[in-house]
Symmetry: D2
Subunit: 383 residues, 4 copies
């Protein structure tokens, strides 16, 4: 499996942290190489970025359509594209590449509407293309361990889920003081119908889903636009959830929780035990069983499930972090793509990353939350 | 102020932990002394308890009515009564003593119905009697510090409250295996219309109210009877709250959260900062302000507000715990009663403990949660 | 066992925190009652203290000799005395009461010289009197659990001990700004040849000894008088220890460690596992075994050894603290004394508190540390 | 500065974690590229590694001498070599490359003897070559912040240092059960005169030195060969230190501390405040000042010194880990080398990594510890 995959990028120009993170992740294990890009709506910025990244001038494009078309016909065209633009541009770009038969990795929330997301999913499926929605936080050894413990019944049947994702960076009106990310994330044109639920609530939805496998039946949400004057979009949300198996959940996401940087936390309570996973301390996992002392599992130790242990790159006590989460997504995606290109059958474990259907589920989650809140925080069916 | 107050007790017989805790708290500072009791519905147990506690045989009573009447006419009769029976008996006992002009300290949840609680409140007010509902957790230096910081605007205006009280002791059907407390707490006859919200949800309501001063406008609750078969009452509840000032809240209480003992936690998020208070680590308080490092305040240090510092009994680093919380309630109650008996005016700070109105508010909280949940987890007005 | 023991107190006058703590501990379980005292070198203060504590005027004494003699001949004389003066007064007072046949509880460090401490030990033994040196920190359920685990071989044979007791209260010259405790603790006349090792290093020595049972063979100490100008006594000490079984240890105590209140910590490393005990979080105990996740044991849960569980007063999650540690000492002392008075045989478990020999060992520890440091931090034999 | 540096590697063949970590670090920021190697004493393994890494067959060498000579004369020869063999091979390899005028990055402990290390240092200086000894732990934003706080006097003058590096991986005789790293690290032929002090004690020495700038005056060490039968080398060491400024320190390193993975910890106590840095939680830094609450600084926030902030790659709350520490070393080394090649003057900040002198100091530390311990744990002068 010595082939180096070629990928292109839409979005992620100079100064974009997430573009850097995607590239670092895609290339972390030496299986892929950036060869083309349309990094910005400004072609000038695309050119600058391409130069900085050492790309061939002829593979820098004015827009995603041009890029999709031209790359599709090159013999050395890209194997896949990474889309890491602001939300509004995901749909059109992803569709363009899928139509040209190019595999897609796209940021979340996947699209503005559920229909768009499902269209992308269907398109990928029809064309036999891989599609990855980049929910990174679940892609670490301890979240995988949590998932394996749930799957193996180690904590019994799940009854309660409590998850939260508090941040404080929009506690003040940062969008009015030159913070570009704040500017687009608080603007419906670029970010869609929700800021907070869309940006980070979806991470809760995805991580809970990944760890527990639970499906949401109904939810009831309260969204508020705290933290600046006349904000058009939510910065805080409380969401009650009922799952199809009878379990209940409680999600909280916020961008006005002063003092919090990024501590996405998922706690799962079953009939035999509980699990607590925290993103900011994701080298550790807390596990509690009836009548036993609390356990702290430390990544890299021999008591992990093989599937979880296999996602570690470093020995115990040598912390892994955010880059490694992206590396784990791309590690799976790259290998799956190589297998696909070699005509191998892909297993569920090969595809252990969020696909377009998971992306669509995230968009649906956003819409249901907004709908519930708008109608007075009533319960709405998820499907 | 050298007088030693005399008190009696209803409930709290041999083997009752909470009875012991009340007595320890009442006498912690040497201002009160137990002299009478009706410790059990079994007179035999009352006699045994009285003997163990060294009480005079003639001041052990068959029921609270007898006790209230006889103590009221004794020259050396009790100054106040402590009622720490299971919930069902609070109302009648408290009323009996109030009617006899005896001050009352009573456990929470105060009564089965809101009307009963308000009747007690009105009775106490009419007769000029002190009434304390024993919510203990707010009665510690760090919760007081949190309250003072909110009052002084240190964290700005409150926008979000997130509070939880998870326990795991009813994850299995403990009521069927000889656990007496589990037996009565899961039985509506003894505990009322709610187990989990009544027992521990009320602590959330009270502690949040104490720290923030916020008033609930509406709430939406989902209660579940997890953890045993055919349980009649809730063991898990998620509650969304809207406050009158526009803030929102999210409370979770559970008795099926395996691995958790008693970590009541209240987090308050304002426009200028955040506060996190945890009962199990209540010698410390976490404070976060915009753009500053997280602060850990340690009880006993000079940077506390005087009102909070004044509730410490020990030097920094010498942990205080649960007994001291009860001692703080009774310290204030005893001093207030002595002042009252001496004809002094009582200030708000003298009465810095939950009264019957606070107790009634707790009962109302239970009823609103049950009502909301029964009606499909709809929003209900608090008042 | 319904008799209430009578005790007297030497030291611990108004404003003395430790006097209050001793009284609270002695009476915590209702087995003892203060009836006599010589609370201060100022008789006036003794009278004021006695009045505040409600003592009979005739049982307030000008000095410990008068008290020992008069109490010894009273029919209702004290069963035991508690000595909680500054260090310099321990020896003479303890000896006076022992000579009168009165049992003794005395603060640490027990005496100025090893010979004095051993004389007290011998005197107590000859006269068949109980003698307790009040090392409180080991007297909690989690330290007992640690001891039981070591005894039962749960962590194998001990190879390494790492213990520390950092405080920050003498980082500035508090003795020059009106802090009375700082004044006497930094003055050799009142405190002896060592401040820091004497006051808190001895707690390390005792707690390690209690948990591990190890005996010191040799030690090498470096003492420094940091934190104020021209201090006569040490405020920081590093001590290397070799134990008779071949294990090694490393103790650090400091009063100039800014930011630390009182976190005495003992970590024990054996061939099969490790234990970490922390005073400020002593409701929890950390245990690590080869190849297993770290365990956090929480006081009050069923997985404790019965001997450790028996030292709990409260349910899990309802924190116990410093008062309870003193209560546990006195609980054992009071019961042992009652048994002794009833002619019962005392078992090792009855006497599970530090005696005069343990007190003498502590004094020896102080002297060895000072000797080592003075001679250039050379190794000195313990015995 | 668009040139991509070329580097070669000695050691770090297939299956070597540290080889992978070095390569990842060197290339993290896209400034360097591996082009040559002698990855193993087995040429077969070198060939396999080279193939896996996509190297040109002609640049895979049988030994470091051949590699140094041939690379030195190539027009596209390596700019620098990374040496990450077991300890015994560092000296000869480093010398070979220096003699050929090739810059060197070499693992620690740098050499077997102090003389060898100083010879390397002198050689590098004479030839104007860069030399980096890869002490990684200090190369993170929080350790840099600690250093800057000390430099700026934020915690006053340092009086006490307490540092530790406990691990548990050699608690059993892993060297006898197929663990290759255990095998060479416990064998004097490959590892030198010390295992534990050499491997991890040196990290304490370096990190303390980096943060505090203190110079050791004398030390007293006790080394033990715990954890296996008849081990030739130390697995546990306690070291007392006196610094030239009058401060004292206490270092502990261990490989038999069951339950510990890799928590190198440095605590520094000054006259105005204290700092606590922990490798396993190095996204945070604890700071304590007299009379103030404890502060937790979180990497990525605006209150860091610019020099420290500049070492962050990710936003706050997005954890960085071990790879980033190596990336930070190489980021500085690569840039310094590029500047040097361009004839620019190098500043102290450009050279903010451990050089050969620092490497020599580490070797001296090892020798002094072993010497002290062998002579009965006496005090020995550092210089």
């Amino acid at each position: 499996m010595s082939k180096i995959l070629r990928y292109g990028m839409v979005g992620g120009g100079i100064g974009s942290l997430i573009g850097h993170v995607h590239r670092k992740g895609a290339e972390f294990d030496g299986r892929a190489k950036l060869v083309a890009g349309c990094f910005s709506t400004s072609f000038e910025r695309t050119l600058l970025t391409g130069e900085e990244l050492g790309l061939n001038r002829e593979r820098l494009y004015r827009d995603h359509n041009e890029m999709a078309e031209k790359e599709a016909v090159r013999e050395d065209g890209i194997d896949y594209v990474i889309i890491c633009t602001p939300n509004y541009a995901h749909y059109a770009a992803a569709k363009a590449f899928l139509l040209q038969g190019i595999h897609v990795v796209c940021d979340k929330p996947l699209t503005f509407t559920v229909e768009e997301a499902e269209e992308l999913a269907q398109l990928a499926e029809e064309k036999g293309l891989l599609f990855c929605t980049t929910y990174a936080y679940a892609q670490c050894p301890t979240a995988k361990q949590a998932q394996m413990m749930v799957k193996n019944g180690d904590i019994g049947e799940i009854q309660v889920v409590v998850a939260e994702y508090p941040m404080g960076w929009l506690a003040t009106a940062a969008e009015q003081t030159g913070n570009k990310q704040a500017a687009w994330r608080t603007d419906p044109k670029f970010t869609g119908i929700s800021n907070c639920v869309g940006d980070i609530g979806t991470h809760i939805e995805n991580t809970v889903s990944y760890i527990t496998g639970l499906e949401i039946d109904e939810l009831c949400a309260r969204l508020d636009n705290f933290g600046g004057e006349n904000r058009a979009l939510d910065t805080n949300a409380h969401i009650l959830v009922k799952y199809k198996n009878g379990a209940v959940g409680n999600y909280w996401c916020s961008q006005v929780a002063i003092g919090y940087d990024n501590p996405l936390t998922v706690r799962v309570f079953g009939t035999k035990g509980s699990i607590e996973w925290r993103q900011e301390e994701s080298n550790y996992l807390k596990v509690m069983k009836i009548g036993e002392p609390t356990q702290i599992l430390a990544r890299g130790n021999p008591y992990f499930y093989p599937e979880a242990a296999g996602m570690s790159r470093l020995a115990a006590g040598h912390p892994e972090g955010y880059f490694e989460m992206f590396a784990n997504i791309y590690s799976k995606f790259n290998v799956a793509l190589l297998k696909l290109q070699q005509g191998q059958e892909l297993t569920a474990e090969d595809l252990d990353f969020a696909d377009a259907r998971a992306g669509a589920r995230g968009v649906k989650f956003v819409h249901r939350c907004v709908e519930s809140s708008k109608r007075g925080s009533v319960w709405v069916k998820f499907d």
